[in-house]
């Protein structure tokens, strides 16, 4: 009945540096330890590890030379010095983001043309609304939240040509948020993209020099509702 538990005990001894102590059944009962909470914490570690592994295994993508295909999930580890830190301390954060959907041009326009910040798209470009989700996996300091802003995401035609435009202010949802470890967030951003042409979708935290580049060769790969 407890074969799994026995193997857990054996492994537990080798994982002491994780600061997780394996308990016997008696200890769990005596100390009133909630096995479900304990299991949930292990899952947290598993998921953080998993994200870190995916980051390391895909370190060769995410640049203009070798961008991640835009329909894939990114794992981005970057550093900056948060306001709370002095200049000698560096802070690392492991984030993941994913384009859930890009709305068709007409539908996108209906969603944003009445909003503050809207202006007609430049010639050869069109407005599109992106539905983005991101997740904060791990960081140097769990009490420092990471700001993620609509401005951190930009569309590039090529490495030297970002598409610049005013930020659309949405009324229904937040586009600039501070998220903490283990939190996830979904929101919408409005961006101009080139009509019928490939583009780069780039994430860069405002205080970091590290960016993450994805490439949308054909918009159909991220137009998931069609």
């Amino acid at each position: 009945m407890f074969t799994g538990f026995l193997s857990a005990m054996l492994l537990g001894s080798t994982l002491s540096y994780l600061d997780l102590e394996m308990k016997t059944v008696e200890e769990i009962e005596e100390e009133g330890i909630n096995v479900y909470a304990y299991y949930a914490e292990l899952n947290t570690i598993y998921n953080q590890n998993d994200a870190e592994l995916r980051y390391f295994e895909n370190q060769d993508v995410g640049t203009f030379e070798s961008p991640l295909p835009g329909n894939n999930q990114s794992y981005h580890l970057f550093s900056y010095v948060p306001e709370e830190y002095d200049n000698s301390d560096e802070y690392y954060v492991l984030l993941s983001f994913y384009i859930n959907n890009m709305f068709p041009a007409e539908e996108s326009l209906e969603m944003i043309e009445h909003l503050e910040g809207y202006e007609e798209a430049a010639e050869g470009y069109e407005w599109r609304v992106f539905e983005i989700s991101y997740r904060h996996y791990n960081s140097t300091d769990p009490n420092v939240g990471v700001w993620i802003n609509q401005d951190d995401f930009n569309v590039y035609v090529d490495e030297d040509t970002p598409i610049e435009h005013d930020e659309i202010v949405f009324e229904e949802w937040f586009t600039n948020v501070q998220i903490y470890e283990l939190e996830r967030f979904e929101t919408m951003y409005a961006k101009q993209i080139p009509i019928d042409a490939p583009f780069y979708f780039v994430y860069q935290h405002e205080d970091s020099e590290d960016s993450y580049v994805t490439y949308v060769e054909d918009t159909s790969i991220i137009e998931r509702d069609q």
């Binding site: 479900y36 299991y39 292990l42 899952n43 590890n49 959907n101 586009t175 996830r184 967030f185």
Partner: protein, 174 residues
Amino acid sequence: MLKKLIYTMITMNVLVIGFATIETKAMMSPEETLKMIGDTLERIEDQEEQLAEYDRVLEFKSYDKDIGLHVNPAEVGQEVSYSFNVMDEDEKVELEMSITADLIADETVYEHLGMNDLYTILDSQNDSMIWAIIDFELTVEDSEVDVSHTIHADDFGIYFTRMPDNSIMGSSFR
């Protein structure tokens, strides 16, 4: 459109992120859970072997042991360790303290707030928020450190951990 969004969100949780599985597994018996703990430790062991090949910059944390973080908040009244920098000193000072709070959220709040020049009516888009008065009581434990620490109302912030269900977009949760 809303249905499409909800559908996308559900598939994200299960297929792409895979975090949502914990709650359903919590329905298992304690014996089954212990077995799953064993299996998960094996998988973590395997991950650790693979990660050892790389230069890591992030560390593990045991959230259960570090109370008072955003991811592991203290209970009201629970003692936590709080560190801060004394003015003009590099060294951090650590205090043990606990906070209790009385929340006043009935209509009397508006009687009090209406007399305050800074009172503003909440934006109509924030129909999930109300004004409330919070009566904080801070208890700092006896400390050998001889410092004073001024506490401002601005030091306290309110964070949403979960917005109402009808607010699908723009809600932060875990």
